[in-house]
């Protein structure tokens, strides 16, 4: 390989842009592909902040505590090496972002300010108002623009990645992509390709995600042989505003800044929240979790809210919804710290949350699962080896994954403000890994015979020509909606095997109906329906992986909750004091503390389980009460 090689990064969210910066900084050429201008990627939606144990608040915080919170928060399913690497890199990452000009909130002394998020007892979250993701993405976007101006980066915005180009040995030597404006299909030779394509929220129809987050790229990579891991672990955020088009997130930072969750003590109380006196409000999270209060991990808060509404019928007015109350906090403080969130509520609901408690309900938010990647662990530090080509690599040689699209960092449940961090960290180690992978190859992808590229391109030209002729009775957008409805109903907060079975059957039915789709649009320019129809198939594939993985995991862990297979409540407040319970826990743990690995087969995903190495932290019961 020549000193400066050409790489493709798919996705211009935080993960993709950081990967790009690392490659360009090392002198390489990078093609960045994105469905939308990278500055409009879903990462802009992140509100609350980014974690790093900088310990500026005299609380004795330390990266090791961050590691522990993360592994425990994920119920010991996370890949431990990468988690440790990430938590140790976190303070440096926050400083780097600070140097890049992120407008982080400051203390009176001019230092970075930190707030508290769920699943920890420390103030560890750096933030820029309540639009932290936007600010971080812009900082990276600006650095990439600088490389673009220098000619090291070429952006292909409004381009959709369709699939890989492989050589005879199965190594990825490039990609096929489509220009979403001219509909041109072409290949992009690359020494290595990184999928930083974000999460699959739209597989659930409505979620807190951007509507471009269909997971199409991960779905396609899965079909091409990439392992999809821990698909069943879907984070449902406790606090979102239900809407017809989207579930708009009310960030955890609202509770971090003192927001309290409650319902009226009297079932079906019709009084306006402001007329209900303190003594007649039930702060159920504070009551049940006196230590973490409103800041228990997300899966715990979500289940509690869900049960209060569905099982106890204690939701506001007997329906789905509880109060998230910040009216006791001065409006000025709210505006300084979480104005972005306050404005979203005001704009889309019409009430001013500074004076009227918000009404919220859990909403699909994040996928802990994703493309399976590996790391090379340093035996001394138990962290990823610097520059190892193994880091962030999928099981397909030359194909990498980073950001929400990979499975590694969050296990069974992600802690708030750990995702922006994992996106950036995975890019920081993924970029050098790709460069070193290229160095280790004897032949450069660019020198590979033309036939590999031609046949990959022909496959896609053919597929779209076929889709364009589809004139059946089914509407692709309607099929996607049906998929979303069944996934949300059966595959989110509480899961039952009979319903999961029905979900898999329904997805098979939708796949069959997909064959009778009508493409709706035969236009030659910006034919979105054409691209979407292809995406819907990939969404169905991912939906089937998620539902099947959920069906087969007969236990409750992190965000995956099956009442039929849950452990009983321990007899003592501290579960380790109940030996009988501990024996049950250990048995369950031995059976299920494993990574779910889904492999593609035309008759449906093939699931197996891989044991998890625990060099960093021994598993223990996860307990927050």
């Amino acid at each position: 390989m020549a000193a400066a090689a050409r790489f493709t990064v798919v996705g211009g969210g935080l993960a993709g842009l950081m990967t790009t910066i690392k490659l360009a900084e090392a002198g390489h050429q990078v093609d960045v592909l994105s469905l939308v201008p990278v500055k409009r990627s879903h990462s802009v939606c992140a509100q609350g902040g980014i974690n790093g144990a900088v310990n500026t608040k005299g609380e004795g915080d330390h990266p090791d505590i961050h590691v522990k919170d993360t592994l425990r928060g994920g119920d010991f399913l996370a890949e431990q090496t990468s988690v440790k690497g990430m938590c140790y890199a976190a303070p440096g990452i926050i400083y780097l972002l600070d140097r890049m000009g992120v407008t982080f909130n400051r203390t009176p002394e001019g230092l970075l300010d930190f707030r508290r998020f769920g699943g920890t007892l420390h103030n560890r979250t750096a933030f820029a108002g309540a639009t932290t993701g936007q600010q971080l993405l812009y900082a990276l976007d600006e650095q990439v623009r600088r490389y673009e101006a220098e000619g090291k980066v070429t952006k292909y915005e409004y381009w959709e990645w369709l699939g890989t180009v492989k050589d005879d040995a199965g190594r990825v030597i490039g990609s096929v992509a489509m220009d979403l404006r001219t509909m041109e299909i072409r290949t992009f030779p690359a020494e290595a390709v990184c999928l930083a394509t974000g999460g699959p929220g739209i597989v659930f129809g409505r979620s807190t995600n951007s509507i471009i987050n269909t997971g199409t790229a991960a779905g396609r990579a899965f079909m091409e042989g990439a392992i999809y891991a821990n698909g069943e672990f879907i984070q449902v955020h406790p606090t979102s505003i239900p809407g017809e088009d989207k579930l708009r997130l009310m960030s955890e930072s609202v509770r971090g800044e003192g927001g309290r969750v409650w319902v009226p003590r009297k079932k079906g109380d019709v009084r306006s929240p402001r007329d209900i006196p303190e003594s007649e409000r039930w702060y159920f999270l504070e009551e049940k979790y006196p230590k973490y209060k409103n800041l228990v991990p997300r899966d715990v808060a979500t289940r509690e809210i869900f049960m209060v509404c569905r099982d106890l019928g204690m939701g506001i007015g007997g329906r789905d919804g509880v109060y998230l109350d910040v009216t006791h906090i001065p409006a000025k403080t709210l505006d300084a710290k979480i104005k972005g969130v306050m404005e979203i509520y005001e704009k889309f609901v019409g009430d001013d949350p500074r004076h009227t408690p918000m009404v919220i309900f859990p909403g699909m938010h994040y996928s802990m699962g994703g493309l399976y990647v590996t790391f090379e662990s340093d035996a001394k530090t138990n962290m990823p080896v610097d520059g190892s080509p193994k880091n962030q690599s999928t099981n397909i040689p030359g194909l990498y994954a980073a950001g929400e699209a990979d499975y590694a960092f969050h296990g069974g449940n992600r802690l708030g403000a750990n995702s922006l961090l994992s996106c950036i960290y995975s890019g920081m180690i993924g970029g050098p890994a790709m460069a070193n992978f290229a160095k280790s190859q004897s032949t450069s992808a660019a020198a590979m015979p033309e036939k590999f590229f031609q046949s990959a391109k022909a496959y896609w030209a053919d597929r779209f020509a076929t889709i364009k002729k589809m004139a059946g009775p089914e509407n692709p957008y309607q099929l996607a909606r049906e998929l979303g409805d069944v996934m949300t109903e059966n595959c989110t907060v509480v899961r039952y095997n009979d319903r999961l079975k029905k979900t898999v059957e329904k997805i098979r039915e939708l796949k069959d109906r997909w064959n009778r789709v009508n493409v709706l649009d035969t236009g030659e320019v910006a034919n979105r329906a054409l691209s979407y129809t292809n995406q819907v198939w990939n969404m169905l594939e991912l939906g089937e992986v998620i539902a099947t993985s959920a069906l087969l995991r007969d236990e409750s862990r992190g965000a995956h909750y099956k009442p039929e297979f849950s452990l009983p409540e321990p007899k003592s407040k501290d579960p380790t004091q109940d030996p009988e319970w501990m024996a049950l826990w250990r048995k369950r743990h031995e059976k299920w503390a494993k990574t779910t690995m889904a492999r593609y087969a035309s008759e449906g995903p093939q699931i197996s389980y891989e044991p998890i190495a625990t060099p960093v932290l021994d598993p223990e019961p996860r307990w927050y009460a």
């Binding site: 939308v36 201008p37 500055k39 409009r40 990627s41 879903h42 802009v44 939606c45 440096g92 400083y95 780097l96 600070d98 140097r99 890049m100 000009g101 407008t103 909130n105 400051r106 203390t107 001019g110 230092l111 970075l112 820029a128 108002g129 639009t131 936007q134 600010q135 812009y138 600006e142 623009r145 600088r146 101006a149 951007s210 509507i211 471009i212 505003i241 239900p242 809407g243 017809e244 088009d245 989207k246 007015g317 329906r319 789905d320 919804g321 300084a336 979203i344 704009k347 889309f348 009404v359 309900f361 509407n475 957008y477 309607q478 035969t522 236009g523 320019v525 910006a526 979105r528 329906a529």
Partner: protein, 268 residues
């Protein structure tokens, strides 16, 4: 869905008149659609409804409307369009607050791609022109950046919430598809990076970028930009601040030239 913010469906419907244009080179026309009324609906949720059933009011099957959107919470900047003749973000345009029929047309200051989707490339190019970035030495760990006061942070934060939506250019009488005027957004970004303690070190380059053709002197002070900005960015203040910077630099240039001339004439 049975939520406390019930999204009631009624038999009312909403009427839309939507601009259709298959090809920027061909003439366009309006299609009319009727969409079932839902409480809390916005323009994008209605466009999504049309995707699921792309049939006009007079029963004609047509291609789904093409529009840009991603975040649906007014932070990605994708969905700017003219709604009843006024530029705004479609995702936060609540139906209940709009007069019917609701007329949707693409922004006019950018080339149409198709229907309501336009090409805003000129905005990103403008960010290159003003070197809208902090030139860091590299991504290695060099410790924290310079300290900043809470006051400076709060000014810079607001400037940095610009979502590159293009509304300010759309509303500006000085911007047209065939001129080079850089527009309010990029001028305001130049101010942001010139305020940053590290960005400041290159402030002169940014000010110079605003001096050339299509620069800040093309601003006609109509003040429309600040009225339409969905993020309420103080654009006219930014323009005034940068105008002063440009003037200062121009004066400095004159003196510098005189100094140089004196210097080159050698000791008397």
């Amino acid at each position: 869905m049975d939520t406390a913010q019930a999204s009631a469906v009624s038999n009312q419907s909403i009427t839309f008149r939507i601009w259709r244009q298959d090809d920027p080179a061909k003439p366009g026309h309006f299609d009319e659609f009727k969409v079932p009324y839902r409480k809390g609906a916005n323009v994008i949720s209605c466009l999504m409804e049309i995707q699921r059933n792309p049939v006009t009011s007079d029963g004609k099957k047509v291609a789904p409307v093409v529009w840009d959107a991603a975040c649906l919470e007014e932070v990605c900047g994708s969905c700017a369009m003219n709604i009843n003749g006024r530029v705004r973000m479609a995702c936060s345009a609540l139906i209940d607050k709009l007069e019917q029929p609701i007329t949707l047309t693409p922004m006019t200051k950018f080339p149409v791609v198709r229907d309501l989707a336009v090409d805003r490339d000129r905005m990103f190019e403008a960010l290159k022109r003003v070197k809208g970035w902090v030139p860091v030495d590299g991504t290695y760990n060099l410790g924290p950046g310079p300290r900043q006061s809470q006051k400076d942070q709060s000014v810079m934060y607001v400037l940095s919430t610009c979502i590159t939506c293009g509304s300010c250019l759309e509303a500006c009488p000085q911007v047209s598809q065939d001129n080079e005027f850089i527009g309010a957004a990029a001028i305001s970004q130049a101010r942001l990076f010139n305020m940053n303690p590290t960005g400041k070190l290159n402030s002169e380059e940014r000010v110079r970028a605003l001096m050339g053709p299509g620069g800040i002197q093309d601003c006609g002070k109509a003040q429309n930009c600040v009225k339409v900005c969905p993020k309420e960015i103080p654009l006219t203040t930014s323009i005034a601040v940068m105008n002063r910077e440009v003037t200062k630099l121009a004066i400095k240039d004159i003196f510098f030239k005189e100094d140089e001339q004196k210097g080159s004439s050698g000791p008397a």
